[in-house]
Amino acid sequence: MTHEAITMVEAVNLALAHEMEHDENVVILGEDVGTNGGVFRATAGLKDRFGNRRVMDTPLAEAMIGGLTVGMASQGLKPVAEIQFMGFIFPALEHIICHAARLRNRTRGRLTCPMVLRAPFGGGIHAPEHHSESTETLLAHIPGLRVVIPSSPARAYGLLLSAIRDPDPVIFLEPKRIYRASKQPVPDNGAALPLDTCFTLREGSDITLVSWGAMVKETLEAAEQLAEEGISCEVIDVATISPLDMDTILASVAKTGRCAIVHEASRNLGVGAEITANLCEKALMDLQAPPVRITGYDTVMPYYRLENHFMPNTADIKDAVRQTLEFV
């Protein structure tokens, strides 16, 4: 059991290895996941350790990765498939939406689809086109899927364990900008984290900041800096964006009366829309100011020279929070 501080991508690797060690049905497939250990090294060493029957380099075809995974899962394997970048997930959507999310329902439970589909996503690493988008909405909207996004090494480890153990399909989106942004000791004790709850990372009384994935970093930074100005922020990491745990968010907003939601995805129909809609429907009387969304623009993610303009930053969050607090 390691207590060394590790990065998020190492935590992903640790969780994969842990589950492969404890459940022989857990297998890995994807492009370059074998000898190469994944382009981000998330599966590094696993082929050597578990053999190429359980860690499979596939031909280059995402629809096929999606379809194979469904077929394998129906046989009681627990495939963990990697889509190399979320920007290449689209060919797999037919299998995810029409089959993975529906196999249990379609057969009234006779066949099930206990699979995980991992994909790095989001901007900020100066990557080529299609390597930086945040399109989690497309999956979060689909009934029958769980969509999980970790924001720290420890949560990556615990949530990925849950995702693999879950008897239903889970989309596990990894914010690659923070793959190696910080280290944290993560005991390899097999302790899973729940997929049905947000995580409150910081308590506060003036405003609730809601975020997930890489933007949690900026959100926490903003909270920290605003504290110096005497503004007390509660910070919630949604983690499982679908099904969405509004209870935690509503309880927090009942207390703070204000809310800012931070995400990298485009604003229009980003998950922030659903959260805001819920606040409006269920907490209208609690709101002392309109909730605010701090998000990417409704434009194509620009090619990398301008990408930082697209992505919200700490200063944006602080500005928005201050404005919300000024609202009367």
């Binding site: 096929m64 379809g67 077929g71 037919e94 057969t107 006779r110 745990d245």
Partner: protein, 363 residues
């Protein structure tokens, strides 16, 4: 220029349209047992099919895809597969499904718009009907991957139509099956039409079987109206797959004697002459003629069997029609292993709405 690859595609046929042997018959075909069993099931499948169409016409069944003309593709497969094999069907494999143990009333239930048609234990690990074209090809490869990984002696068998061979899923499936030498059999039921699009518009090659070549797997063509040819091809493919000798593609040339589905009207796009000619090739009569000629089947047997078949189909129909709808909460209860807390409220609403006086009562 060096030749770096050479290949060909063969066509297999034993029975002419007139039910006469066109080649030396395999040994097993000299015995009446299997062929009469096959015949009986083809007749049964056709009776079920007629009933389904009648039910649809009278508003008692939804849009239905007829199997008319593919009996000889489906039935041998259903008879030859072992229980532990896995069928990954498309939406025109009712005969095969029936032979794999799916009760006829469940086949009707499925086409009656009810998910329980996919639910019976008799279906074991077989996949449900697949509507998104060709996606099943890849599920078959996934099933076969699991089988291979576990060193099991089982085979994944999947069907699709001629139109489906144009879709990436089918082609990616062939490719990975070849790359990984998976225990899978792909059967293309080439019934010459994809709704209104004729085979010639789908693809520029003389055969569909030659798509196997690019994947480095075995491919062959068979007369899909000839059960002897289909059994030979299929048995070989099954055995090879079971013995770890890799995948096969079988293109079975049949003809869609029906409309595409009950929602379609083929007279809009299909020449009646062509249809007439196709009826001359049809598989049930062909086999019956052959059985007659061998003295393995006669009019008395035919009449008795037709009666029996009608009773079976009628019983199944009654069971189907007597099946009450699922309660509305069923749409929540199979979404996940356990209903997420977020959905409890919606489930409650749905139940209240479905109650007497509710906005969706009896709807």
């Amino acid at each position: 220029m060096d030749t770096v690859y050479e290949g060909d595609i063969r066509y297999r046929q034993y029975l002419s349209a007139q039910g006469k042997a066109t080649a030396e018959l395999p040994a097993w075909a000299k015995d009446p047992e299997w062929l009469t069993l096959c015949y009986r099931n083809m007749v049964l499948a056709r009776a079920l099919d007629s009933k389904a169409i009648a039910l649809q016409r009278t508003g008692q069944l939804g849009t239905y895809a007829s199997l008319l003309g593919s009996e000889a593709v489906d039935v041998p497969a259903g008879l030859l597969m072992r229980p532990e094999d896995v069928l990954i069907p498309y939406y025109r494999n009712h005969a095969c499904q029936m032979l794999r143990g799916m009760p006829m009333e469940e086949i009707l239930l499925y086409w009656g718009g009810d998910e329980r048609g996919n639910a019976s234990a008799q279906q074991r690990q077989d996949f449900p009907n697949c509507v998104p074209i060709a996606t099943q090809s890849m599920h078959a490869c996934g099933v076969a991957t699991a089988i291979k990984m576990r060193n099991e002696k089982r085979v994944a068998v999947t069907f699709c139509g001629d139109g489906a061979t144009s879709k990436g899923d089918f082609l990616e499936g062939l490719n990975v099956a070849g790359a990984w030498q998976l225990p899978v059999v792909f059967v293309v039921n080439n019934n010459q039409w994809a709704i209104s699009v004729p085979r010639a518009l789908q693809n520029g090659a003389p055969t569909l079987a030659q798509k196997a070549i690019g994947a480095g797997i075995r491919g062959e063509q068979v007369d899909g109206n000839d059960v002897i040819a289909v059994r030979e091809a299929f048995e070989l493919a099954l055995e090879r797959a079971r013995d770890g000798k890799g995948p096969s593609l079988i293109e079975a040339i049949s003809y869609r004697l029906s409309d595409h589905t009950t929602a379609d009207d083929a007279t809009r796009y299909r020449d009646n002459e062509e249809l007439k000619k196709a009826w001359e090739l049809e598989p049930v009569k062909r086999l019956r003629t052959f059985l007659h000629s061998q003295g393995w089947w006669d009019e008395t047997q035919e009449t008795a069997w037709q009666e029996e078949v009608n009773t079976m189909v009628q019983t199944a129909t009654e069971r189907y029609l007597a099946t009450p709808a699922q309660p509305i909460e069923s749409i929540f209860d199979h979404l996940f292993a356990e209903l997420p807390k977020q959905l409890h409220e919606q489930r409650d609403w749905a139940m209240v709405k479905a109650m007497k006086g509710g906005t969706h009562h009896d709807s």
